[in-house]
């Protein structure tokens, strides 16, 4: 999942980026509104965290511009003023949720995950497709209620696929959303990880959870249980 953090306070931005990376996200950062707008336009984002009090281009304007350009990824606003008028304006401008400073990172993370889940069309906190269940809050994956141990990167690929279960996702999209910009983008690595995931989730080769559509990409093939 690729996130954008737009925050002018360097210390806060850096600590946020670090913590989000640690939580398994691919994170871009911008220090002002204009840079934020550039990133929002150019990158394939899954979610943006926008501080309202930004230099150059205020957060509200940034959100309006992104929404006017039909960018539909969820936006979480950070507000220091914590005024209802401001929150209402932010939500009306196109933001989806707000977190007031100073926040606990756990709370921010929970909001981010809820927004991502909802944008994938999931209503429940645990994502279930048949026997496969994924809990973004704990990053736990179970098959038939048995825990499956995944590496961090395997988990990120699976999370992305399940989030958008039923949709075809190209290798390029996966690479873009999951790798940081400076990462070695060898698409063969994706194939390797998909192969590993299949073996871990479906050792008997009976479920066939991940489909390969030649030349187009992958699809998580199991039916969503709820909220789909």
């Amino acid at each position: 999942m690729r996130l954008l953090v737009v925050e002018d306070e360097t210390a806060l931005r850096e600590s946020l980026v670090g913590q989000l990376k640690e939580a398994g996200f691919n994170v871009d950062a911008a220090a002002d509104g204009e840079e934020g707008l550039y990133c929002g336009r150019e990158y394939a984002l899954d979610l943006a965290i926008v501080d309202l009090g930004l230099p150059k281009l205020p957060g509200l304007e940034l959100i309006r511009k992104l929404r006017a350009e039909s960018k539909s990824f969820p936006i979480l606003i950070l507000t220091a003023r914590d005024k209802w008028q401001e929150k209402v304006e932010g939500l009306q401008a196109g933001a989806d949720d707000y977190v007031a400073k100073p926040f606990h990172f756990e709370e921010l993370l929970a909001r981010v995950q809820a927004l991502l889940r909802r944008s994938g069309g999931w209503a429940q906190p645990i994502l279930r497709c048949g026997p496969v269940a994924l809990d973004p809050r704990t990053q736990e994956v179970t098959v038939h209620d048995k825990r499956v141990e995944l590496t961090s990167f395997e988990y990120r690929i699976l999370e992305y696929l399940i989030h958008r279960a039923g949709e075809v996702i190209s290798k390029a999209e996966l690479t873009e959303r999951l790798y940081a910009q400076d990462f070695d983008r060898d698409s063969n690595t994706i194939e390797v990880f998909i192969g590993r995931l299949r073996r871990k989730l479906d050792p008997d080769d009976t479920l066939k959870p991940i489909e390969t559509l030649r030349g187009r990409g992958y699809r998580f093939a199991l039916q969503r249980d709820s909220g789909g």
């Binding site: 220091a80 005024k83 009306q92």
Partner: protein, 455 residues
Amino acid sequence: MQPRSLSTRLLASVSVLLILFFGITIVALDFVFRDLAERSVRDRLDVQLLALISASEEDSSGGLQPAAELAETRFSNPGSGMYGEIVRADGYPSWRSPSLAGTGLDLSPQLKPGERRFGELHSADGAVVLVLSRGIDWEFSNRKRRSFVYSVAENQEPYYAQLHRFRVQLFSWFGALMILLLGSLAILLRRLLAPLRRVEREIEAVEAGQLTELGGGYPRELLGITTNLNTLLRSERDRLARYRNTLGNLAHSFKTPLAVMRNLLTGTHDLPIARQLDEQVGRMDDIVKYQLKRAAASGGTGLGTAPVDVRDALESLRGALLKVYVDRRIICDLEVEPGCMYFGDREDLTEMAGNMLDNAFKWARSRVRLTASRLSTSGARRDGLHLIVEDDGPGIPVAERARVLDRGARLDERVSGQGIGLSVVRELAQLNGGSVTLDESPLGGARIEIRLPPV
């Protein structure tokens, strides 16, 4: 007692002045008229007396009689109002004019020769009669000298009738003049005071929120007031905006470091010192939040700002909260009395309603109800606002209610982790002259009610 209006004052003072002026004039004219009239009567009587004296002839009985051809014929006509008499010093009435018949008048007093007397008598029918008498010494042809008193008198009734006519005319002319003067004064006042009435109308419009400031085109004398009033309205608005902006910047520059501190503490919750630090960060945050929200409250009259469309403001809030709490699948009913307006600050209203609604969404199981209606107070030109937020959550226990509302004000005593939203609501409501009540809702949960009387 309410001070009387300018025009009433002016009209009243001018009326008093006019009555005083006309009164003195009437009295003076009346005096002059009477004086002149009396003098002319005296002169006339003088002439008659001299004529009577010069026309006198001796008669056989040692008295005096006016000659038969006496010019004044009125002496001979009874009821003519002109009387004459010649009385000898020993009281013998030598001659009485025929006109005296039936009047019961005895004109002549005792006078020494050369003496003159002017007097007033009443005839039998009550009429006032002016009398001029004079004593003379008459030397008869037989060289005998005798004293006589000559008197002439005139009935004053015609004079009084004239005086009455004069007075009636005087009063009617002055009355008409006064009505005319007061009428023109009233018209003049209307025209003169028209700009003042316009100021009043425009101030009312500003109060009602139809105007943000007074218009132009006032006369020079009022321009000072209207310009200053506009400056005041504008500076009040600007001041609030500037003030809020400063507070907002303060909040931003204060809370961002707090956010950094909190973030640095992430993942260290096992350390007791980290927990304590985090708690202190929370306390600082709450203190700043509470005090800044209090400081940012307008608490004002909302003069010069348009009234807030309550439905619009609440609808926006409802939409925002439904978006934020979408996972909770809460049903939020909104009932707003048609035409409900808030004559105050939009930010204050949004802040109060936002905190109330947020609290309700936080605790509700599935339903939140928001009701807004007008709060009319007798004698107030504008409506107040009555807001009720209810939920079907667990409610607030009676024992807790006072504490929930008080939390922000007693931050030092509070236990960390509890919201200060409702105490902010109370603070803002009080700053706007209103009150908050916590109760139980028929929905099963809490019922929070604020009453904001008109300012």
